[in-house]
Assembly symmetry: C2
Homo-oligomer: 583 residues x 2
């Protein structure tokens, strides 16, 4: 069999098995060595290809799409530093458990480490940041090798999706000529109705006796707190709120927990804790007997202090598969079980009369309602950063996603995202909390067809401006709200702000650029509302527009600091006045 | 001693020793965890800091500056994916032997792999792509630990610079609080006149007997070819041309060899080989007895064919330190020696009458002069890609640098860069030949104060548009010539061009964006000459301008292909007519 036919069959069977295993999308960055993969993906009828030139953006585009759809996404690039540009997205995918399949083309063995052009050592390029690495064999199309590529394809998808999802890396050495021949018979292999491999995964369920013991122990204790940190399962809300209501416990719900939004009951949801746990006295009032946490550690630094100050409270951390996400260092019982099964089992095992302290939940609710009152009615005509986020959350459409940038954006969403029955998926890159790749992440999520609002700061927007090209090229509908405080706003909240001499150069880092020009270059509509009410109108207008819409809200870092401080102080003062004096 | 004083002394002594060891520049990307390093670098009187927000651009800015100055450059970033964004520049630095010192801040051990924010595993993050990795101890300021940090600083510089230069990575765990106190006494350590460590490096010199043997062997053979591929030593030109003239040999000089430009003799320099070695008949005419190559493998694919077709010719590859850069796979004698010492030794060991074949060099010179005639007089009023490069090389100022992009740009420079006595340094990222980081590389080189012209295509320009911010922020003088053929022009020259169905989507990849807007956003002057003569004027105008000047030459990919083909065909036809028929 000649070289071209062997190459074609090998790659066609590989790509076909990816499709059969559930792959629907591939993000391709142009290059020569990757020609067999790129052309075969483009040829396959069941896979949609997205061509993105900047591989860093391509990686994050794939990440955003995979986060939005909970499906694996493949990345294809050429040899050399192209593959290295994926590294930030690969790390974020590993840390935030997103299934990416990185397929890197490579020079064959005889052209490695001999000074051949565009040849670097791609073996284990991403170190420990992939769940699996495999150096593929050179293309052959014997029966054994066709079974081998089908197995590798199916296994790559399964490894990316099973347990904690994450990235997988396959490296493909290719010899020239690189052009496949799609005219051969049975291009996609022997007609197979089913995937070559099928994988059945169980869910972790605690033994009945342990559930019973846990249930009894927790119910015999008065002051429990359920915490739900960042997690992506939209089904969790239903059972976790049932459990909280049965046990009479508050649920501290992180903005990325997917339980502040959705159709389930919100009776026990506490979303204002970041505001009122900032106060030491209030934290003292709320000393818990135990904390049971689902999902990752919440965004809130106030919550971190709360846990730190209560090392005596028994802490339980629930992990679906494996993980040690307990950064405080408190003594912890780890529960490795499927969170939904665990909640259901605990509900079933519960006694009828389960509420031990009739004052515990009302206290949390009261504090929460004061915080909410202030965040709801912080409403101002001035378009401050907080106000912009508040307005966005007022008008964001049902059945849409909000992709939130790091630093200030996620913190403002923590403050202003109140419980709502709207079905809104909250997405963010909280694996490594970078400011990189945000534009591509949002646009990747929007490429699924679900309406996406991307909220981020000017530094994040700048960092991945290149990401806008995909929105233009593919006419993707997305609304981007840029809070432009001309630099790194979060540093004003940190101790660095006291070091005047170097502050502006090293931390303030104003960009001093006019984004309008870049937005026009990428064919986006551009809006700069001046007043808070204008923002509502502009947002509603953008949600009707096709393609890329960017709204820029220009703010001042110092005013922003002041505004937030005043809000938190007002909440604390009100709580001290109305709650503490009643105690 | 308290935490802040220990932190301050530890980092101040480290930074001071870097300065004493020759570090003059640091590129800082903003972040919180890196505060001790960032602030201390900013405070040190002898180190200039450049603050660049996008870490990928920051890495390449450092690379360009280090390439231009042959001095080490330090990079400082915060924890998380910030460090991963350096990866493309680190790989390029490793492959093209550029001294970078990556200093990444990290969470301390107790905050690693426990779900703490912005904490990733940074140990050996760059795998085998650094010459040395060291996980630094937590800051302490005992005498032992001050000696330790000074040693680590001095050693990092030495490792980056010695042998084949390359990147070094030090990872710094820091605990809060992170702000140093610069008011302490003896901030920069005990007043030391000298660096704490001094390193003396020998140069590799072949034994006299071996030089004699080699010299005799080579001089007894008739048809030798000296090849000088990409290398950065501007002193090599003087001795290598002396050797060639003594032995009557042609020097095939790559555009990045630094020997097409400069004040040394150009009598034996062959710069047109890429054009005439494309023809099989001509290659047959030039069968060599031996090839001795200095520097990396040349850019020219025609040269690659020439070597491949002559496996019987003895091939010598000279490497200054270590390396196996022989991609053809021919039998090779590797000579590990300092190239300048080797040339001098060979000249000294040469017999007086050393020219064995009186027709060999004149033949090469004749072919070369025909090729040069055509490339010189290809001159056209139409502003084709080749014409643009030819015009640029006409007017580029003496004592300046030309930073050349990959793909088409470097190939056109190979064709059109004729020998000149102007002192022009040729720079390119030929370690991994990526299209990433080019804008920052050029601007980094220009930040040294030497005038820089950056020549690159539209995809490279797009890939690192973010790099332009540094030119605006620091008012760096640079002239950028963008050849915009709206996509990947080089693919038109490759077999992929025959696959019409997927070509434009996967390989042509037109950007369809108007760069003028981005250039205005970054405060650059923007020029679009229409005719070839206009380009000369515009270039001369830009060389007088302060700050960022961008010239966009809009071309057509198909016309470009046609134009190049016609040029090469004309050269081949002329050679076949005038040389082959005389044989």
């Amino acid at each position: 069999m000649n070289h071209t036919e062997a190459l074609t069959r090998y790659i066609a069977n590989f790509v076909d098995e990816l499709a059969k295993s559930g792959l629907t999308d591939v993000v391709i960055s142009p290059g020569s060595r990757s020609t067999p993969l790129a052309m075969t993906f483009a040829e396959h009828p069941d896979i949609k290809e997205w061509v993105i030139i900047d591989e860093r953006s391509a990686g994050f585009f794939g990440l955003g799409l995979a986060k939005q759809t909970n499906r694996p996404v493949a990345l294809v690039c050429s040899s050399g530093t192209a593959a290295a540009n994926y590294f930030p997205a690969i790390i974020e995918a590993y840390q935030s458990r997103v299934p990416l399949i990185a397929l890197t083309a490579d020079r064959p063995h005889e052209l490695r480490d001999v000074g051949a052009p565009q040849a670097i050592d791609q073996l284990k390029l991403y170190g420990d940041y992939v769940k699996d690495f495999h150096e593929m064999a050179l293309p052959e199309s014997t029966g054994t090798m066709i079974n081998y590529v089908r197995t590798k394809a199916a296994r790559a998808i399964h490894e990316a999706m099973s347990g904690n999802s994450g990235p997988v890396h396959l490296n493909f050495p290719f010899r020239e000529p690189l052009i496949p021949d799609f005219s051969i018979e049975n291009l996609w292999g022997e007609p197979l109705a089913d995937p070559y491999h099928v994988w059945h995964d169980g869910r972790k369920k605690l033994p009945e006796a342990l559930v019973k013991q846990l249930s009894e122990k927790l119910q015999s204790t008065k002051k429990g707190v359920i915490v739900c940190g960042p997690q992506i399962d939209e089904e969790l809300g239903e059972v976790i709120t049932l459990l909280a209501e049965k046990w009479g416990l508050p649920i501290l719900a992180d903005p990325l927990s997917q339980i502040r939004t959705g159709s389930h009951s919100k009776a026990n949801i506490i979303e204002g804790y970041d505001a009122f746990l900032r106060n030491q006295e209030i934290r003292n009032l709320l000393k818990p007997d135990y904390i049971i946490r689902f999902g990752a550690m919440p965004v809130s630094k106030a919550y971190l202090f709360y846990v730190k100050e209560n090392p005596g409270a028994q802490q339980y951390v629930v992990e679906n598969h494996l993980g040690y996400r307990e950064p405080v260092g408190n003594s912890t019982e780890f529960i490795f079980a499927d969170p939904i099964l665990l909640c259901s089992d605990l509900i079933e095992a519960s006694a009828t009369d389960t509420i031990r302290d009739g004052e515990w939940l009302p206290l949390w609710n009261k504090l929460n309602s004061i915080a909410k009152q202030y965040t709801l009615h912080a409403s101002d005509t001035t378009l401050t950063e907080g106000e912009a986020v508040r307005r966005l959350l007022e008008v964001i459409p049902d059945k849409s996603s909000l992709y939130v940038g790091n630093s200030m954006a996620i913190r403002d969403v923590d403050t202003f995202l109140l419980s709502t029955s709207k079905s809104i998926k909250l997405l963010a890159n909280r694996g490594a909390n970078g400011i990189d790749g945000m534009v591509s992440s949002g646009i990747g999520a929007a490429s699924s067809g679900i309406p996406v609002t991307l909220l981020l700061g000017d530094l994040s927007f700048f960092h991945d401006l290149n990401g806008l090209l995909a929105a233009k090229h593919y006419h993707i509908n997305i609304t981007i709200l840029v809070i432009n405080n001309n630099g790194g706003g979060i540093f004003s909240f940190l101790p660095q702000a006291t070091s005047e001499k170097h502050f502006e150069a090293l931390f303030g880092t104003p960009l001093n650029i006019d984004f309008q020009k870049a937005i026009e270059m990428y064919g986006g509509s551009y809006h700069t509302p001046q007043q808070a009410d204008d923002l509502n109108d502009v947002l509603l207008e953008c949600y009707q527009e096709e393609g890329l819409s960017v709204i820029e809200v220009k703010t001042d870092r110092n005013e922003n600091l002041q505004w937030h401080r005043e809000l938190w102080e007002a909440i604390e003062a009100e709580i001290v006045k109305t709650v503490m004096h009643c105690e």
